[in-house]
């Protein structure tokens, strides 16, 4: 029950206080520790709630939260019955590229939040009209001024982030080491594998990707790593291997 309800909160179809009331009604009062954990867990939830639409994007009418006909879960539905538009909220796709040249890996220092000042490989949201490998190539061009042929890269990893994001990470060996920092990067460099500052990386997934790229660097065809970062109901992270 708790998981399903949490998913409903995450989907923006239930408020955190309504969730607490539900728990109370079912005889599951929260201790103050649990309450704090729920608040921590809620940061992602609130983010997702805020991203739910208040108004219909087709006709501008206020949206309602209810189960549409023929569906099994609550959605954001247009309050104007002659419109009836249903807004589906789905996880987004992030694409990234781990680029190497002569046993050094391309890293960018983030000029923007989150994790401004920390290091990572080029990555960002997949855009409509491009494939995951084209997106990885575009992000590398935008963040590091490095171009590569999207048909030449290899899939290295699939990461899931707590039901809000999936990441497809590629690797590619570059023909040269020219670069030019884009406006999202305050610095760009090629770093020898044994000089990576692992505690200066932006996200756990960046750590995962680089670690796996290093493990696979002598393999002609890399194993595709699958990892999942789940948020558990006690507010902790849990990592699952694929």
């Amino acid at each position: 029950m708790a998981y399903r309800k949490a998913a409903a909160i995450l989907a923006g179809s239930c408020t955190v206080s309504a969730f607490q009331s539900t728990l109370l009604n079912r005889g599951i009062p929260l201790s103050s520790g649990q309450h704090n954990n729920l608040r921590r867990f809620s940061s992602n939830i609130i983010l997702a709630m805020n991203s739910g639409p208040s108004f219909c994007e087709k006709c501008g009418t206020a949206m309602e939260i209810r189960i549409p006909h023929g569906d099994e879960r609550e959605r954001h539905v247009c309050g104007n019955s002659s419109c009836g538009y249903v807004s589906y909220q789905n996880p987004k796709v992030v694409v990234g590229a781990i680029c190497t040249h002569l046993d050094r890996v391309l890293l960018c220092k983030r000029a923007i939040e989150p994790c401004k000042g920390k290091w990572g490989y080029p990555q960002g949201y997949l855009e409509i009209g491009e494939t995951t490998r084209q997106g990885a190539a575009r992000e590398t061009w935008e963040e590091a001024g490095v171009k590569f042929d999207a048909s030449k890269c290899q899939l290295l990893a699939l990461y899931n982030l707590a039901g809000i994001q999936i990441q497809t990470i590629y690797r590619v060996d570059l023909d040269d080491d020219t670069f030019e920092a884009g406006h999202e990067s305050s610095d760009v460099k090629f770093v020898p594998w044994n000089e990576i500052q692992w505690d200066e990386l932006a996200f756990p997934t960046v750590h995962w990707g680089l670690e796996h790229a290093l493990a696979m660097k002598d393999e002609e065809k890399p194993i595709v790593q699958e990892r999942t970062k789940l948020v558990t109901m006690d507010g902790q992270w849990k990592v699952e291997e694929g």
Copy 2:
């Protein structure tokens, strides 16, 4: 240029006729054959255009198409400058599961469009709050009444569809062969590999997935297949291998 502009059309930030004007202005008039091809190519584009928001989901104001500050491409932006909400359009994630039991594979006959009456493995859109493997397990439960432990399945394939969708396909060996058709399936059965009716499958990707699952069926750890279905500017499909 043509590709970038086509992507802009696909993103809903450019109309087909504006695209034709652009080609004309640059001295690239379209022959009637090319024009027809563009119209065919445009079916996806127009779909994507129609899915763009007309009204702001935050405040209900009419949306405009322009390049937001700090961005590099046209987006749907709220016309109310005190709101300024930017609506990002991104490809969606589809998850699927190829379930086997004693060398037979679970197939569902589609009770809904598109490709009603054709066969496929359970698949559908990834929901907020779930991971790709959880989504694959949910779709299998909804369409075929078959339950499996999401932690037991293995990533089998990543498919890209023309910049509008990415698919992650899993495989799992089931403990038994009980099932119950869900409301999206008119029939469900376990089919021996050598009795699959390949010309009765719903989508090219279903063909790809089953073909690859068959090729990998004796491998303890399957190779993850990457395939891309690209729409070329002459309106044809083109398949790229990863």
